[in-house]
Symmetry: C2
Subunit: 451 residues, 2 copies
């Protein structure tokens, strides 16, 4: 691959300029800013790189940019990316305009640089360079680039269901990759699912004087009692059947945890508390983090929140609760069981709304896409990558991949611990961008060769 690497280095200025061009085009899905223009621009980049590309629309959705590149006899390799970005607020905390893509101190500073335009453009650049150097790709490649990832991918499952032919692939490389704070690359093979619910409890017609606390029902108390029974202080969710589909980690899964560097005391101190829940440490702590579902109160409220005293019996209360799910839990099943739980607890009158639902997804570490990704990371960085069985966050991986039997995992990418994803002054190192281009070229060769 030496000629490829040299070619990428020689043409890096152009790949950087292409990325800057895309970064200067805002594409804020939450605010509807520049989305159509960006989709068209991404389509143009695909065509310029020698692919066939089109915009695929699903009712109510921002368009998916779908692209295909012909290649050698290897298996079909898919890439998932998104062209939308988070809002840039608060603007006054940026040191340069978030859509100027200014280069400073070896980095490109822009909203979307790390999440996710840098990865997308590195992949396109790798394809251009590969074709320029070798004449053809070693395998056929396709891209699914959505425009709604930053608002929760509400239509990606519809897209996949309606276009199963476009989704089909031997493996799907997930949106990006990152390094830990020691510079070691992280490869993850899955995501947790999510079931995010909102609960509203009503009481009297209006707030009452708190002297009625003796005999009038208080929705804040009712919510408090229901939540305290939902998850108990032993961190166990008490919904009947909640844990039934949880796949227990295998001995090999648990062995993987021993290879993940995680200094619990140091991390707790960084985060600002003295210990993790239940005093967990070591392998048990990571097992809980990676292989156990969660139940988190993301917000709660009701009654008087101002300064000092108001003697009021509130007439409403609410909570937002987030379940992170592990294989083989199903968010719709969890929601059904949650409703039944409430009814059985005498809370059938609570108003509950499902605000977000995604399945967990996991690809076995011995899958050859994962192994190809690991081999590439070893070659590229000269160090052993850290392999996460899954990340504790969520994403639409299942809807696009595992639901159709398609393995998926992350590959080397442009992000780093100081990349400020979703925050002011998002940035990537130019060196990481160029290295990611090389890594994607290596991955195509590695995954193509192994057939």
């Amino acid at each position: 691959m030496k000629p490829f690497f040299e070619y990428v280095d020689a043409h890096a200025p152009q790949y950087i300029a292409d990325l800057q061009r895309l970064l200067r085009q805002p594409s804020i899905s939450a605010q509807g800013v520049g989305v159509a223009e960006t989709a068209a621009m991404v389509q143009d980049f695909f065509v310029a790189a020698g692919g066939r590309a089109r915009l695929v629309t699903t009712p109510g959705a921002r368009p998916v940019v779908y692209a295909e590149f012909e290649g050698g006899p290897g298996p079909m390799l898919a890439f998932y990316n998104h062209y939308d970005v988070q809002p840039a607020d608060p603007l006054d905390l940026w040191h340069s305009d978030p859509f100027s893509a200014e280069i400073r101190k070896g980095r490109i500073w822009a909203r979307g640089a790390a999440d996710n335009k840098g990865n997308l453009m590195a992949r396109i650049a790798a394809i251009r360079a590969y074709r320029d150097v070798y004449g053809a790709l070693p395998l056929p490649v396709k891209f699914i680039v959505e425009g709604e990832e930053e608002v929760g991918s509400p239509h990606l499952a519809d897209f996949a269901d309606g276009h199963q032919d476009l989704v089909q692939a031997s493996g799907c490389v997930w949106e990006g990759g990152f390094k830990d704070n020691t510079g070691r690359p992280i490869i993850y093979c899955g995501v947790k699912g999510i079931c995010y619910v909102e609960i509203r409890v009503s009481g009297a017609r209006s707030d009452l004087h708190s002297m009625w606390g003796s005999i009038a029902p208080n929705p804040v108390w009712r919510l408090t009692w229901a939540l305290s029974r939902l998850k108990t202080p032993d961190e166990r969710v008490q919904i009947p059947g909640f844990y039934d589909p949880v796949r227990q980690p295998t001995p090999r899964d648990l062995d993987m945890l021993d290879d993940i560097p995680f200094d619990a005391a140091e991390r707790a101190a960084d985060l600002g508390f003295s210990r993790f829940v239940l005093g967990l440490e070591g392998r048990r702590l990571l097992e809980q983090h990676f292989f156990q579902p969660t139940c988190t109160i993301c917000g709660v409220g009701g009654g008087y929140g101002g300064l000092g005293v108001k003697t009021v019996l509130p007439n409403a209360a609410w909570a937002k609760v987030d379940f992170r799910l592990v294989p083989d839990q199903d968010p719709d099943d969890v929601f059904r069981k949650f409703r039944t739980f409430l009814t059985n607890e005498g809370c059938g009158d609570f108003e509950v709304t499902l605000l977000a639902a995604e399945h967990p997804a996991r690809t076995p570490v011995d899958d050859r896409l994962v192994q190809a990704s690991v081999n590439v990371a070893r070659t590229l960085y000269g160090s052993e990558p850290i392999l996460y069985p899954l990340v504790p966050g969520s994403g639409p991986m299942y809807a696009l991949c595992q639901k159709w039997g398609i393995p998926s995992c992350a590959a080397p990418g442009v992000s780093h611990p100081g990349a400020n994803i979703h925050a002011p002054n998002e940035n990537i190192f130019i060196d990481d961008y160029v290295q990611t281009i090389k890594g994607i070229g290596l991955l195509m060769a590695e995954y193509g060769r192994k057939t």
Copy 2:
């Protein structure tokens, strides 16, 4: 008392004009508006009525207007009132200026008309009329008129402790009186106490991504669990020793409840729910309402409260909790036990603040001040008054009365169910004002005669 009644009717226009003059002088203690001017005006009214009056200041407090009137050989009768009023907001909901004291449809409309200037001026008018008709009062009378009742009487206990000579009396008539929605007068012989606390719980240095919900401590969960153990769904407070000082109602106390008209189904429907807590009805419901302490969450909060989804693990949570206390509970003792409870629950790191504390207070119904009040109500309204052993709300009655062995209760007053106390369009009926003047004259005669 016929000459007295006729005299009051004849001079009603002047008594009404005097009340309007006081109502037109704002005295909003929470905002520091017009307090000193009002205190001086009240002092002037006392002097004009033939009394000796002065302003008594306690460090940090708005002045108490203290007044004395000489009288016949009867026992010293004290009156407690307050000259401050609630803020008039929201102003746009008033049909006339809250400080114009406009007369419309037989009512005077003004902030403070019912709470509490109407009662104060009716008492002063009764003294003037009594002296005008009979030459002297039947007993000596004193007034303690504070300027901080609407902000929780934070210095009235200091005043009483520092001026025990001024407080001394044979009985103390509480601030006012009211009728129920059938027009029957209500006499109450006590108040519940209060212990109002604020709880703050801290977690990580900042809000975290909710994927950390697996292992990072969540202050909202910790608060939820602690609250759920503080009061259980059987409505029992679980603080060890909380109920120890609670005086059990006597058979006579319980018999009083049977004379209180209270249609539980109708009242629940009015308030907008289907049943009271625990499905209580009849005497058990009223026993809970009048003789049991409460624990009410007045407000709770933490984390994300906006629209839709935010996957956040909050780093802080808070609650405001109001305990209403019955004899012989002590708010400071309850606060101490509450802190111990939290420590024993593993919540010693919770930050707790005592925001308000008042003792419960109760005078036996066979006390002669209560009986005088009842007799006056019978004479005045021609119907049997409703006798409340205490009201489920709170007030500084203990600090001024029971602490010094002084019986106290309500007397006939100007308020009514549509008086809009603490709300826009506060008002009293002019007929009720004139009748209250007569009632206070009757009460002085009755209480003086019985010695």
